[in-house]
């Protein structure tokens, strides 16, 4: 036992110092955190929005935590850690809404809880700030109709169908394509493995040589589709409609290889999350709509406006 005394003492001392400093800090500033559902450049925009909010409200401490593995388990851990730290407000993009209700209510009881980008409507969250993913899906569906006026077969690609935003986008696309001659063959998933995402596209092109259109539902899917279609020399023959604003997606649009992309405004997710959480904590509920959903509209980027949008993005990301 003796050999444990020294390390034990050191550990207690260190823990004490850390806890002390954290407590002191926490007492000084209220902390607001945005927790993502996955790691992607999408959230870099949100980070910029948070930075803008931070400049406007220097008396708060604002952070963003990235859920690298995109799993509900990881998010649970992150939320528990945040509660233990005593943060005041959390805006969360939920990874597994159906089964997270209990955990989220636990969070809502101790801090101000918003959801963003991916909702959990059954939980006690104050508000959802995000895209109406079904509406976004319908936009994409309309773009697909425009691209395939005579119908055709299409394939959808996404990381995983666990996430609400994925399911809702598929739902929106199906709604928009109901009654048309466009047939959705399947949704292929890749578990956020970019290599698998690309090879899924290659395999689809091999299996369905006469496929008409491919659609990527998450931000990295569309650029991989673009790469694969271009490498196969099928630009223009196989059309592409996608989501979000990866640089290659935008390049594809300006080249004419990609028809269009539905972009969200993650900058606003970050900014509005912070600003509205502050409002709510100070008793101002004027921003809250009746159904507790603050919808940030999506935009359709196609050949007409891609140049201007690209410039805007570059500026925002500081590239």
């Amino acid at each position: 036992m003796r050999k444990f005394v020294a390390p034990l003492l050191a550990g207690v001392l260190a823990a004490g110092l850390l806890a002390g400093s954290a407590a002191v800090e926490a007492q000084q500033k209220k902390t607001l955190v945005l927790v993502t559902n996955a790691a992607s450049d999408f959230w870099t925009f949100a980070r910029r929005g948070i930075e803008k909010a931070q400049k406007e409200h220097p008396d708060y401490r604002m952070e963003m935590i990235v859920t690298g593995q995109a799993t509900a388990a990881e998010q649970r851990r992150e939320l528990d850690d945040l509660l233990a730290r005593g943060v005041s407000g959390i805006s969360l993009s939920v990874d597994d809404a159906a089964h997270a209700t209990e955990e989220l209510n636990k969070v809502a009881a101790k801090a101000v809880l918003f959801t963003t980008d991916s909702d959990a409507p059954q939980s006690n969250r104050v508000a959802y700030i995000g895209t109406d993913n079904v509406a976004a899906g319908r936009n994409a569906g309309n773009e697909i109709k425009k691209a395939l006026p005579d119908g055709g077969r299409i394939m959808l690609f996404v990381g995983t169908l666990d996430a609400d935003n994925a399911r809702e986008r598929v739902q929106g696309i199906r709604e928009a394509l109901a009654g048309t001659k466009v047939e959705i063959i399947d949704v292929r998933t890749d578990q956020v493995d970019f290599t698998k995402a690309k090879s899924n596209v290659e395999d689809t092109l091999a299996k369905y040589p006469d496929i008409s259109l491919l659609s990527g539902l998450w931000s990295y899917n569309t650029p991989e589709i673009y790469d694969a279609v271009k490498a196969a020399g099928k630009c223009g023959k196989v059309k592409i409609v996608g989501f979000d604003e990866d640089p290659r997606t935008l390049r594809g649009i300006s080249e004419g290889c990609v028809q269009s992309t539905i972009v969200q405004q993650p900058f606003e997710f970050g900014y509005l999350s912070m600003v509205n959480m502050i409002k709510y904590m100070n008793g101002d509920k004027s921003f809250l709509p009746a159904d507790h959903k603050i919808i940030v509209p999506t935009r359709i980027i196609d050949k007409a406006n891609v140049a201007e949008f690209t410039a805007y993005v570059k500026k925002l990301l500081g590239k």
Binding site: A39, S40, D41, W43, T44, R47, V66, G68, Q69, D186, V187, R188, T189, D190, V192, D193, F194, T195, K196, A197, K198, S199, N200, E202, D203, T204, L205, A206, K207, P209, Y220, P223, E224, D227, A231, A232, D246, P247, R248, R251, K314, K319
Partner: protein
Amino acid sequence: MRKELGLLLLLVVVSAITAAINPLFLSGVNLLDMANLIGLFGVFSIGEGLTIITGGIDLSIGSMFALLGVVFVDLLTEYQMAWPLALLIIIAGGVLLGGLQAFLITRLRMQPFIVTLCGLLIYRGAARYYTTDSTRGFGYGDEADTLRSLAAGHLYGIPNTFLFLVILAVVMGVVLHRSVYGRYLFAVGKNEEAARFSGIRTGLVIAGAYVLSGGLAGVSTVLLVFYTNSVSPSSFGNFYELYAIAAAVLGGCSLRGGEGSIIGIVLGTALLQVLQNLVNILGIPSSLNFAVMGTVILLGVLADQQLQARRKLAAAQASTARAAAAPALARQGQQT
């Protein structure tokens, strides 16, 4: 040779069944796609195989891809570095990480599992920190065109990655099965004590395997980056070491060390890629991807083991029959 033949047979059977159900499996496009992926995954599987032959293991290569990958993209895009230099730096980076692990394993006598597991955790964490969790990619311009066409191009239609794998396999095949180092590698993996008693510098031999594995991981990073054109530090290369280990073990590398062949590793890689491809080609739901892989491998290895056992039983029965006919035992005094 036996294990490799069994694996080849499994590969042929699976391919035949798939082709029968959907002949497009054998279409030019699909075969070349698969060849590319076999090339991509085969390069680092060979590196993994070397460490397994020494009786160790390298769990960190997937995370090496993440770290080296984000650095590589940054060197080309952010820093506009000339591609030969960037390439050199990445390969040197892999060699360095491999060397670091080798030092911990051979000099400080730590277990390879632990050392490389920590590598797995640390390198990816470092990559995520370095980019603050943002993805790095070739976005707005066409950087490093020469290197790109080398890494992702085709020669008469055959993907360069596959050609590179073939060359690598030939070279490593010679090294492993014909050179002094290769013989030492097998000896150390099979019986480190006897190797030491024969004057072999077992530490250097083992270290060499990890350094080579690191270097090949560096090369693989470049090839993979030019395939996906973007690197997300939290997901790039995630679990790829498992693919490598599976390929190596299927190909005959015993986890106890001292056994293995380059051909086996390449065949193992091919089988894994065929299994991934057939899920898409046959329209099996994506969610069953890994389940299919696991099931086919399990059944294949099981079948192989049963056939082996039956063969051994037959051989043992034959030799017992021979022994029974032998003359009576001689009288001896030396037995404890």
